[in-house]
């Protein structure tokens, strides 16, 4: 009897060990690091001073807001581009669904940084695209895409598009096609069928897609540093500089926690706005 009672605990032990080692311990370490003072030469003392947080927010609020804005814009672009793609593959892909998905993912077999850098060549002020348009007189000479906010947003959207497409596709693909027929049968035209049935049923997929794009895009630093120039720095760039260049670990750690807190608050209010039941529910019928 005693052994039977223990069995479930023994079974979850590996999972709990994994979580403890690779999530709780590092988070705890980061938290304690964010509450230290000192520098890399004299060492950091655990003072539990919350001043780091005040410094972080006070100094870098602009980058924080910019990150949330760029991440949000990139996520919206991902929905605008990704939803139709997912819809098309799921409902019109026929026998070639897997082929289309593979085509969608193919570019992502190439390194993330390399792809971003190649956009730099592609979009350079007198490169293949802009140069040609300028030669044809279709664009003014001073026109630039690189080193602007739209370049960063589009770079982010491009790099994280599959994370939006795949969850939406998964939900749409699993949807009973008779649901659409039933809505037509009940006098809904194509637009109403989409608004009242397809879209609400696919909301959990959109929600998952938003989480999987908004979180990494808000924290990204590669796109901002490769495509954004010096005026579009995101909070990811600040964290990277503080850690690797300035060795100011306490500040870097506290910025990390501020960002994490903001993302969590954002996600929970988003889930509440959509209705938790609706986004968490997995529809099987």
């Amino acid at each position: 009897m005693r052994n039977r009672k223990l069995t479930p605990y023994v079974l979850v032990l590996p999972a709990w060990t994994w979580l403890a080692l690779f999530f709780v311990v590092p988070i705890g370490g980061m938290l304690s690091l964010s509450l230290t003072t000192g520098n890399v030469i004299t060492g950091f003392q655990q003072t539990f001073a919350v001043g780091n947080y005040a410094d972080a927010v006070g100094t870098y609020w602009e980058q924080i807001l910019r990150s949330l804005l760029y991440g949000g814009c990139a996520t919206l672009v991902c929905i605008a581009v990704g939803y139709p793609v997912a819809y098309w593959i799921a409902f019109r892909g026929g026998a070639y669904k897997s082929t289309y998905l593979l085509l969608l993912l193919l570019p992502f077999f190439v390194s993330f940084v390399l792809r971003t850098i190649s956009w730099r060549f592609f979009l350079s002020d007198n490169g293949v695209v802009l140069g040609t348009f300028k030669d044809l007189g279709l664009l003014p000479d001073g026109f630039a895409v690189l080193n602007t906010a739209p370049a960063v947003v589009l770079g982010l959207a491009y790099n994280f598009l599959p994370f939006m497409v795949l969850p939406i596709y998964a939900v749409l693909e699993r949807m009973d096609p008779h649901l659409v027929e039933a809505s037509h049968d009940l006098y809904a035209n194509r637009v109403r069928a989409f608004v009242h049935v397809v879209l609400p049923v696919s909301l959990p997929g959109v929600f998952a897609g938003v989480l999987m794009t908004f979180i990494p895009t808000s924290a990204d630093y590669v796109n901002a540093s490769v495509l954004g120039g010096t005026h579009n720095t995101m909070i990811g760039n600040v964290i990277q500089t503080q850690y690797l260049v300035n060795n100011n670990y306490p500040i870097a750690a506290s910025i990390t926690f501020v960002l994490m807190g903001l993302l969590l608050v954002g996600i929970f209010s988003y889930a509440r706005a959509l209705g938790t039941e609706r986004v968490m529910e997995v529809h099987t019928s």
Binding site: E181, A182, H184, D185, L186, Y187, V197, S285
Partner: protein, 390 residues
């Protein structure tokens, strides 16, 4: 339900003038699909009319074209050729959302993100019916299917039978010219299916709406229908009442598909007093009240023609002694007995390569229990024989 005794929930409003004639008619309808290697003729020339208020079944094996036929009535498929009419109006080419028919899907296709009440209200909302009226009609309809207490629940929280009734309510609440049901009981277990058969029939009587019911289950079709169209290979093999289809199958396929048909080859030997004698097995005589139409026109010229005799297994009596005159009398040897609880099935070898199945109820007064190898006599009255040209 006293409050609704004057107007049942589905009664069409008085101002919707309905022209005379069938509720649904199909005229020379064909449907072919292109598939990888060639063309599939799913529906191959169907003509039929469904009367108003009728419970009409399309019965056939899978792939016989019954579902495609129904989908053309609903507007999900367009016929390759032919005309579909609803209440006399040609609706060929009219999209599903502008046809006055509603469908109950095999998978129910309930909207998972809406409550039961919102599911039922969906069609009324699309038609911009007034809010008060929607609330009233949805309430009435949920009462009719006995789900008033589950109005606020999500479909996923209901049992299969309840979901089925929501699907029914969602379609019926719109008071369509006809309700189309695509194997609606297919996903339910046997007990529930039998309960729902009675339930469906009750609801149909109460609302008085035309039902078109697609099924591959002959028992279901026989139990509920006013008329049945038996389909095979995209064609209607026979159209008639359950009794007609069962007692007088028009084709070999119908005889075989509906119930257990004993098909015995025989030769017409003569006629006396309106009853034809047919020689079957080893010179035994079976009696037949009606020749197949093709032979009946030849009168006595039919003598010597070969026919396939059809007798339903439960119409046959089994005895140890030769029966008297006036009935078919065929001797044979019991080849197999199968006990099924309520009845026992006997396979009787009648010679000449023929085997006849006999079903006997295991009632208290059926004393005979023949064993394998026993010599027995089979007998049945002439009116229980049907015949097809061989």
């Amino acid at each position: 339900m006293a409050s609704t005794s004057t107007t049942a929930p589905g009664t069409p409003a008085a101002d919707t003038a309905v022209p005379p004639g069938p509720a649904i008619s199909l005229e020379g309808v064909f449907k072919s699909f292109r598939s990888g290697s060639g063309t599939v003729h799913a529906v191959d020339g169907v003509d039929l009319g469904v009367e108003r208020g009728e419970f009409f079944s399309l019965l056939g094996p899978s792939g016989c074209g019954k579902t495609t036929t129904m989908r053309m009535i609903a507007g999900f498929e367009e016929p390759t050729a032919g005309v579909v009419r609803l209440n006399g109006r040609d609706v060929t080419g009219v999209p599903a959302n502008r046809r006055d028919v509603n469908m109950v899907f095999q998978s129910y296709a309930l909207f998972p993100h809406m409550s039961v009440a919102d599911n039922v209200a969906f069609g009324l909302r699309r038609r911009r019916v007034a809010k008060d009226e929607i609330r009233r009609r949805v309430g009435e309809m949920l009462e009719l299917v006995e789900l008033g207490h589950r109005a606020g629940h999500r479909p996923s929280r209901l049992s299969g039978g309840q979901q089925q009734r929501v699907a029914l309510a969602r379609a019926l609440v719109n008071r369509p010219a006809a309700l189309l049901l695509d194997e609606p009981l297919g996903a339910l277990d046997l007990k529930l299916r039998q309960t729902m058969q009675v339930e469906l029939k009750r609801i149909q009587r109460e609302v008085g709406i035309t039902f078109v019911y697609v099924t591959h289950d002959q028992g279901e079709a026989l139990t509920m229908s006013d008329r049945i169209a038996v389909m095979n290979n995209g064609r209607v093999e026979q159209l008639g009442t359950p009794a007609q289809v069962y007692e007088r199958p028009a084709t070999r396929f119908v005889a075989d598909f509906i119930g257990t048909g004993n098909l015995v080859r025989g030769t017409v030997r003569g006629e006396s007093g309106g009853v034809w004698r047919v020689e079957v097995g080893d010179g035994a005589t079976a009696l037949l009240a009606e020749l197949p139409a093709a032979l009946a026109s030849q009168g006595s010229g039919a003598v010597g023609s070969e026919v396939d005799l059809i007798v339903r297994p439960e119409k046959i009596r089994l005895g140890t002694e030769a029966p008297g005159d006036g009935v078919s009398a065929v001797p044979g040897t019991v080849a197999e007995t199968v006990y099924t609880g309520a009845a026992t099935h006997y396979q009787v070898d009648i010679g000449g390569g023929g085997t006849v199945t006999v079903h006997l109820q295991n009632s208290s007064d059926s004393a005979l229990a023949a064993d394998r190898g026993d010599r027995v006599w089979l007998s049945w009255p002439a009116r229980h024989s049907a015949a097809l040209p061989a």
